[in-house]
């Protein structure tokens, strides 16, 4: 049985939600409903389930309804329609007392802007969930302390949130959520307010923590990279509806529609980046003017083991290696054509990274990038790998 089982969950903000739901049934779009009735559709018939120990990521752009959806799951926002089963109990219809019990014992939430209590110390913040349950002071202090140590904040317990950096504050947020040992963690853009380095660090830590704690995690994000890193499964949201649910692979390889595809394109760099994005300015010699001596000198200056050879119109003729040029100088060969090699791989500047990768793999020398047979650049192996890894120097601006 799934831990979270959401069926046909909807939220309409406004005066006449039932009417809006009826219009949705008739296939009227969210924008038109807003125009016609003044009601805003927050979430439209969301259905998904999260298994025990799974990290389920809901991702979408701002305004897609993902933050509303997570608040429907713990009923911070009253659902208009549908059900939220937590271990089989329907949260959407239960009375406040049972709801509080479930919130206390099974669901914990981590907030985008941390939502720490500025008037309480770090320890008191971490104790909050237990304090609400009237757990005896000693016991809750110990549990809170353990949770803080788990997130690496054991030494800061008597400071106040204002004294901590953003990353540390969110660790407190996480510790507060973990302190009452919930089954489910709801993480609403938990790392979005952090700067990229800290965000990555927190993602890694969450993955590490998850190894040992095996919580069921519902993670909300607008960042597909984050979704791919963390998610066992990902649900993509658009205009309040879930447009696709799948594993990261499924979503990358089989985007359900244009919207998903567009998202995915940004991530799959190998499909989007072409030779011109990663090429460098080539070092060349002119076949008509230069001999082996110049070639050797140029290679020495630039620290290269080979150099490209072009004619006066920059048409690519081939390349020479340093060894050949050195040999030629000793044997007094003057004409570069004698040592010219032509087995060079050429790619068009529109060639995708995937193809370049296949070519460059077998090539001993950098790959030449040409446009109508004229040399425009070279691609070295390192640049391809760096670009695929996502942190290379990519000069998209020039393209």
């Amino acid at each position: 049985m799934p831990v979270i089982d959401v069926k046909g969950l909807s939220k309409v903000f406004g005066r006449n939600p039932k009417q809006a739901l009826k219009l949705l049934d008739e296939g009227v779009s969210k924008d038109e409903i807003l125009k016609k009735t003044g009601n805003t559709v927050g979430v439209n018939r969301a259905t998904f389930s999260v298994e025990e120990g799974e990290i389920f990521v809901i991702m979408g752009l701002s305004g897609s309804g993902k933050s509303t959806l997570v608040r429907l799951v713990n009923r911070l926002i009253e659902p208009t329609e549908g059900s939220v089963l937590i271990d089989g109990d329907d949260l959407a219809t239960m009375d406040m007392k049972s709801l509080r019990k479930i919130r206390r014992e099974k669901l914990s939430m981590v907030f985008q802007r941390f939502a720490l209590f500025p008037h309480k110390t770090i320890l008191e913040n971490a104790e909050f969930g237990l304090e609400i349950q009237n757990v005896p002071t000693e016991e809750r202090k110990k549990k809170a302390q353990d949770a803080l140590e788990m997130v690496g904040l054991g030494g800061y317990i008597h400071q106040t949130p204002g004294q901590l950096s953003g990353g540390m504050q969110q660790r407190v947020g996480l510790a507060r959520a973990l302190a009452n040992d919930p089954e489910v963690l709801l993480m609403d853009e938990a790392f979005s307010a952090l700067d990229p380095l800290i965000r990555k660090e927190m993602q890694d830590e969450l993955i590490d923590l998850q190894e040992s704690m095996k919580k069921t995690i519902l993670f909300i994000t607008h960042d597909l990279d984050e979704a791919l890193r963390l998610g066992d499964r990902i649900a993509l949201m658009k205009d309040g509806s879930i447009v696709q649910i799948g594993t990261p692979e499924e979503i990358l390889v089989n985007p359900a529609n244009d919207y998903v595809e567009k998202f995915v394109e940004d991530v799959d760099r190998s499909k989007v980046l072409t030779a011109q994005h990663i090429m460098k300015r080539p070092e060349t010699i002119n076949i008509e003017k230069h001999g082996p001596r110049v070639a050797l000198e140029r290679m020495r200056e630039e620290g290269l083991s080979s150099i490209l050879v072009v004619d006066g119109k920059r048409n690519l003729k081939g390349y020479v290696t340093a060894d050949d040029a050195s040999e030629a100088r000793k044997s007094e060969v003057r004409d570069i054509k004698e040592i010219l090699r032509t087995d060079i791989e050429k790619v068009d500047k529109e060639t995708s990274m995937n193809e370049i990768f296949n070519v460059i793999h077998d090539s001993p020398v950098p790959v030449a990038v040409v446009e109508n047979d004229k040399l425009v650049g070279i691609v070295v192996r390192g640049a391809v790998i760096a670009a695929l890894a996502g942190d290379g120097e990519v000069n998209i601006g020039d393209a």
Partner: protein
């Protein structure tokens, strides 16, 4: 001709109706008002008398010591308190000062006791806010003298009607600021409190009120100042204190006495204001 249009109904008897209403209230609630008048009046007098019994030098010292500590061990406020209070003593207004202080203290405490719950109610319910806001506007804009009339009808003359008038005049800021303070608590903090399963009371006492404390204290500070400003007005219905000295100086055209009594009120106002403000800023 045109004026006739305005006279399409004869004069509406608002004044008469109000009078009848007040009489009705006075008669109906006499069982309530009379004991309040009697016992509360006694309590007030007892409080003032007790303060007067304490040697002035002790009070001045205590005030100075408190001032020294709440202002972060700085001497300014403490020095001002010593000099100011001594000056009032020197001018022979000590008893009046104690009476005024009792009046201000008790009416402020009552204002807070009444005001904070109403502020909380307003912050929790839109309907309550819609109903209470215009009443507060009415209470604050109606000239304060007007409250003296029913106050006398209900409670006779003396300290008790003074307190009553002061309550009506001085409570609104506490109500407004409590409402404002709670509404200003960040939505995420309220959500966090709910998400961990707080009951309404837990949310209020563990999150909302602590977070709204600074704002509420600013409201209380205003309430205290307004209560003090009622002291002179309340003296018209027999409330004792510095206000009565100002009033009698006015009636006898004694500009000197009036000025000195006025200075006494100013000194008290500054001390009370600084006290409530420093307590507030320290809690931030």
């Amino acid at each position: 001709m045109l004026n006739n249009i305005l006279e399409f109904v004869p004069k509406i008897k608002i004044a008469e109706a109000t009078e009848k209403f007040t009489d009705l209230i006075t008669d109906t609630f006499a069982f309530l008002f009379d004991p309040i008048k009697e016992h509360f009046g006694e309590f007030m007098e007892w409080s003032a008398d007790t303060l007067i019994l304490i040697p002035p030098v002790i009070i001045i010292l205590v005030v100075a010591i408190i001032a020294f500590f709440i202002s972060g061990k700085k001497l300014g406020l403490a020095a001002f308190s010593v000099v100011g209070l001594w000056l009032i003593y020197n001018q022979g207004f000590w008893e009046h000062l104690m009476n005024t202080f009792t009046l201000v203290l008790i009416s402020s405490i009552l204002s807070v006791i009444i005001g904070v719950p109403f502020g909380i109610l307003m912050s929790k319910s839109k309907a309550a806010e819609a109903i209470i806001t215009p009443i507060l506007d009415f209470m604050q804009t109606m000239p304060a003298f007007v409250y003296l009339i029913p106050a006398v009808a209900f409670f006779g003359i003396g300290m008790v009607p003074g307190i009553f008038a002061s309550l009506i005049f001085a409570t609104p800021p506490t109500v407004r600021f409590t409402n404002l303070g709670i509404r200003q608590v960040s939505k995420e903090l309220v959500e966090a409190s709910d998400a961990f399963g707080s009951t309404g009371a837990q949310k209020l006492f563990k999150v909302e009120l602590p977070m709204a404390k600074a704002t509420i204290m600013a409201g209380i500070n205003q309430t205290v100042m307004l209560a003090l400003s009622m002291v002179v007005i309340a003296s018209m219905i027999g409330a004792p204190g510095l206000g009565r000295e100002v009033l009698s100086a006015l009636q006898r055209a004694q500009v000197g006495t009036g000025f000195v009594a006025g200075i006494g009120i100013v000194i008290l106002a500054i001390i009370i204001d600084r006290f409530t403000q420093t307590v507030n800023s320290k809690s931030d």
